[in-house]
Amino acid sequence: MALIHAELDGELDSARRGELARLLLVDPQAHALRDQLQALCRRLDAVRQVEPPPQLQDSILERLPPAPPARVYKASFARWRLAALFAGVLTATAIVYETLQGPTPGSRETAGTMAADVPITVDSVALNRAGITGRATLYRDKTGLGIALDVSAAEPVDVLIATGSQSFRIKGLSSPRPAGSTHQTVALPGVRMQGQDIDLSFLIGERMVDRATLHAPSGR
């Protein structure tokens, strides 16, 4: 019986189709049953879908709760407009702040710094070459070691930080303003650098303009 229904549903593979054929040959009752079920399925599949009465749509629309779509749209649009305005103001404020203050630590970093005690300077080196002045400081706070870079430069400076197997690059420190007019600080808390020398390379337009080495003591 299962084979017959599987055939009706088009789910028989060739092996099971052969099995069914053998069964139908030796069992005329099964053969008759299969013929009747095939005829039944043909008739069922041939039942035509009738068009619903035209009043169906009208009756549904009539009975829908009265919700003026225009007002819903307007209210929704006004809400979106307000949200967009708020987002725009927020973005503009962030851009202005970033432009004036330069890159700042992420919120997680800021939260860590705020929660920490006063950071302790571990090592510090002055930067004083043509085109770039300032200081690179290795510090320790509650979140671990970090590097603070106070850099003044006439052009954007990239800083390549290398320690052991790790290296990363900070792009675009200092905005293109007259030298000495701005100081920018980037903190990198949580970086594991214990007991290693940290090499800093300062690049302007892919040209190295200064180098510095900070030493991270072992242990915490």
Partner: protein, 154 residues
Amino acid sequence: MRYQKPVFNVALRMLRNPEDALDVAQTTFLKAFEHLGDYDPAFRFYSWLYRIAINESLNALALRKPSEELDGKALDEAPGPDRLAEGDQALHAIEDGLMHVSPELRTVIVLRHIAQLSYQDIAEALGLPEKTVKSRLHSAREQLRAHLSRSGAI
């Protein structure tokens, strides 16, 4: 309203009465609208709609008297078999036969052969495992075949 026709037809084949089918289709769409927030997008929308339609059809059947359920003539105004053309006679026999299959089994046969849903879609619409759907469909076909065979329709 692209689902009007399939929903109406499912209700019609479940109930065999155009007026009842109209009521069920109408209630289905209104309930769907009312509970749109409950719709789980993990399921196909039409499966959800068919589920409402089937439940409403079963509710309508439950409200009927047992004699009404099987009395095709009382439920539709179609002419008797002697006045029907051959194709119509076949349809009439199928409609009549469907009313002799229990509503639970009729549901799967209607969703499979009238709404042309896959086993997966039926399982989704009825909230049943596919295996159960298959087993019910086999029983439904067998009941319908037996009835049509007894009445000489096949």
